[in-house]
Amino acid sequence: MIVYKGKAEITLLVNGRTHVLWVRAADVLLDVLRGQLGLTGAKPGCRNGDCGACTVVMDGLPVKSCLVLACAAEGKQILTVEGIGESPLAKAFSEARAFQCGYCTPGFLMASLRPFAK
């Protein structure tokens, strides 16, 4: 059984790299990605699962990273917008100028990744 009390060391697999991190069990994935890994592509918006600006892909499926505990994401393959690089989807977005201020564009990209791949 995994038990984390107070601050604990966890291992996250993000964009193909393994990161060993000290987190509180109550830390949410969004804050760990941004605050500890500097991956600021996922954006805080509503912080209650409505807006989708914080969407990342976990084990191939889009999830709102503001609603996932970092320690519950251990062992999962996490992909953030930084990890998709010059993908055909990102290229299509920029060629079609499919953004306004751009704040939620990472969320749109990560939510569209699967349907686009299909």
Partner: protein
Amino acid sequence: MIPCNFDYYRPESLQELGQAIREAPRPFQFLAGGTEIVTMAQAGEVAPKAVIDLKAIPACNKLAMENGRLHMGAALTLTQAATSGLFPLLGSVARRISDHTNQCTITLGGNICGTIAYREAILPLLLSEARAGFFRKGRVVEQKLADCFHGRLQREEETALLYLCVEQKYLSMPYVHVKKVKNEKIDYPLLTLAALKAPEGVRLAVSGLCSFPFLVECAALADPSRMPGQRAEAVIKSLPEQPRADSFASAAWRAFIMKQAVEDAIARLEGRGG
């Protein structure tokens, strides 16, 4: 950021679940998808001392036909339940709860045990006389879901919902599912109606109309000698409480759309062309 600190337990078997329940500081909460716990903890509405994550327990993740029953672990996500295609009515309901991203996180058990009033995933389970398996005081106990669901799941403290089971015969019965919302396709329901055509007649379960989801209990519903409109009237008269009135819709509007939806569901399920 969640302002409180808590401990995190992730048991990988029922034995470890028992150990986690014994050892975790009180109060603790079971954690499934976490969408509600994290939201409420960020808002300071709950402050558990520990969470017990159910997602690594095999019984909570199983999705299989076994001895003529579909076994669905409580930690299966709505997406897993829907994409399996094993219980089409449940799939149809699950695909309209929240949005497709949250469906990858929200679990069947979390939706049913959550505090939010809608709990739409319960509707197909009530209609199909599902049984629920609980982990209570170190033992697995199974009971009929309808016997322990009265608007919300009644369970003793520190009892986890492990799985839900539905007999195979219900999985392929004709059904109708309607979700009416105020504006967007994705929203909380003004009314969600699930209807199943069982051999004894049409059954209905409803969410959004009143302050809790419920199975319609109305003798006239299954009386084929009455027209769908008359039966819909009788259903409206048999509601367990007045329809809700809030900023989304008045009670009269909710009652009106309910009557229309019931009439339509009966007509469709009985092939009356209406």
